[in-house]
């Protein structure tokens, strides 16, 4: 079953450097007749994409090629300028763990806050507090404000909340190394568990070996366009050839 479909998706974004955030300056430039409409960049260029449920897709490309932007479009964080996006099912956003935490309030309050932010209900989250704390190994910290936790603990907490329930679509943006050795093993197991089931997974990573081992399809983005999409090994091979370091892998 097709679970994600993008049709001719293009995205223009304003370039922030040129933009004046200053009311006074903008007002004066309008008075002087020097006001220009802000310039825009084409970040994604007519992307067509169709992903079936259960597929594991790796997304590769150089910095600034639009990988994270594409994930944001799929998550619904950004609206495309043109084209249409259709997504069926629950998406677990995993773009940088712990972004939704408020460091002033307690671990328990943060579990509720973060859980509701990423789309669960409060009652659901209340039932899950125990299993989340257990997985994150933070049972003793339930009433401690998050600012008192170490950064590793915060990342563990974020991971535990976001992956407590198996989502239909899991999105990973360079987040697999969380916490210490033992937690890394644990989180890897959980992800592998998702991997084996029918979860659709999208991964953005610069770790090409990881992508080659785990994804059955790879999408190579180049300057906002799909260069090629297909068999992992082949695409990664081509990608490496194009950036001229063919002999690093293998």
């Amino acid at each position: 079953m097709e679970i994600i479909r993008l049709d001719k998706v293009s995205l223009w974004r304003r370039t922030q450097e040129e933009f004046s955030y200053d009311l006074k300056k903008t007002f004066l430039s309008v008075l002087e007749g020097k006001y220009r409409n802000p310039s825009k960049n084409l970040v994604l260029d007519r992307i067509d994409l169709s992903i079936n449920s259960g597929e594991k897709v790796g997304i590769i490309g150089s910095n600034g090629s639009g990988k994270s932007t594409l994930l944001k479009i799929i998550c619904g964080i950004l609206q495309p300028t043109d084209g249409s996006v259709k997504v069926r099912g629950e998406i677990a956003p995993l773009i940088e763990l712990g972004a939704g935490f408020d460091t002033e309030i307690s671990v328990m309050d943060n579990i509720l806050l973060y859980g509701v932010l990423i789309g669960f209900s409060r009652t659901e989250m209340k039932e899950r507090i125990r299993s989340i704390l257990e997985f994150a190994e933070l049972e003793d910290y339930i009433f401690v404000p998050v600012k008192a936790l170490s950064s590793g603990m915060v990342a563990r907490l974020g991971f535990a909340i976001a992956t407590d329930v198996q989502p239909d679509i899991l999105i990973l943006d360079e987040v697999l190394s969380v916490g210490d050795e033992s937690f890394q093993n644990k989180s890897k197991k959980r992800i592998e568990n998702f991997w084996n089931k029918n979860t659709t997974i999208l991964v953005v990573s610069h770790n090409l070996n990881f992508i080659k081992d785990t994804c059955n399809q790879v999408l190579w983005l180049n300057k906002g366009k799909i260069q090629v999409i297909g068999n992992s090994e082949q695409v990664i091979q081509d990608y490496l050839q194009s950036v001229g370091k063919n002999n690093i892998i293998n």
């Binding site: 304003r14 922030q16 009311l23 006074k24 964080i77 609206q79 972004a99 939704g100 309030i105 509701v116």
Partner: protein
């Protein structure tokens, strides 16, 4: 069939909005009052102190406009201050709410309007447990009528609508203009000085009065005083005119938010 699915989706969205509002307001209040002994009652301190100050300075000279009663002056100043404080606190907090949540909006799909609305809601909670009970008692003692107590909700509904509308505008503009707080401080100052809080409206020169009518807070304060302090039955005209101007402000705010919402993400 499709209609029922759509209805269900709408209901889910409303439910999600409500859940988000609950956690965000809870977070807000917890951060604000964590470890402070008086908790939300701190919010009463400001209007009480200001009322004392105004009374000490202007009370004696303006008492003649308030039936020669300093107490009436105190009550009038207090009601005015409650209104202007709510407005200024909630809209200034709404102003920075979207920009401050920029990182979050870039990571999780959320309705952006939840952030200004949650600021207004947090202030509303404060008002409901702080100044509002005082005003209920005051109204009941003055009018000895439950009708007035019930009517008291109307000026406050108008106040919340005005603040939400202005909160939408300020939070939207702040995305584009980061020096807005300086200008907005000035706007709040003008609004608070042009509403008859610590002076009787009668002393304003006739030529200037029409301009004060432009202030959306004046009808609210006027209606609130009429209900809470005059001891007469609530004046429907005042209540309705406050409500109508509030709805206009809210609609303008919503329009402004809707128009520019799609540009937010490029600037956050």
């Amino acid at each position: 069939m499709t209609l029922s699915i759509k209805k269900k989706l709408d209901r889910l969205q409303i439910q999600r909005y409500w859940e988000l509002l609950q956690v965000l307001v809870g977070r807000n209040l917890k951060v604000r009052y964590r470890g402070s002994f008086l908790g939300v009652y701190w919010s009463l301190l400001n209007p009480l102190i200001m009322t004392g100050l105004y009374t000490a300075i202007f009370g004696a000279s303006f008492a003649s406009y308030y039936n020669n009663s300093i107490l009436n002056y105190v009550l009038a100043a207090f009601t005015g201050l409650v209104v202007i404080n709510f407005f200024s606190a909630s809209t200034s907090q709404a102003l920075s709410s979207i920009v401050n949540s920029g990182a979050l909006l870039n990571k999780i799909r959320l309705p952006a309007s939840i952030f200004p609305v949650s600021m207004i809601a947090a202030n509303l909670f404060q008002l409901a447990v702080g100044a509002f009970p005082l005003l209920i008692i005051m109204t009941f003692l003055n009018s000895k009528s439950l009708v007035n107590v019930l009517a008291l909700f109307f000026p406050f509904i108008s106040l919340v609508l005005v603040s939400t509308g202005v909160g939408f505008v300020t939070s939207t503009l702040y995305v584009f203009f980061r020096d807005l707080p300086y200008f907005y401080e000035l706007v709040v100052f003008v609004l608070s000085l042009s509403s008859p809080i610590f002076y009787p409206a009668e002393i304003v020169p006739r030529q200037v009065k029409p301009f004060l009518k432009l202030n959306p807070l004046s009808p609210i304060i006027e209606s609130l005083r009429q209900i809470a302090l005059s001891g007469k039955p609530p004046n429907l005209d005042l209540m309705v005119s406050a409500l109508i101007s509030a709805i206009i402000v809210l609609l303008l705010g919503l329009l402004c938010f809707k128009l520019w919402r799609h540009q937010f993400m490029d600037l956050l």
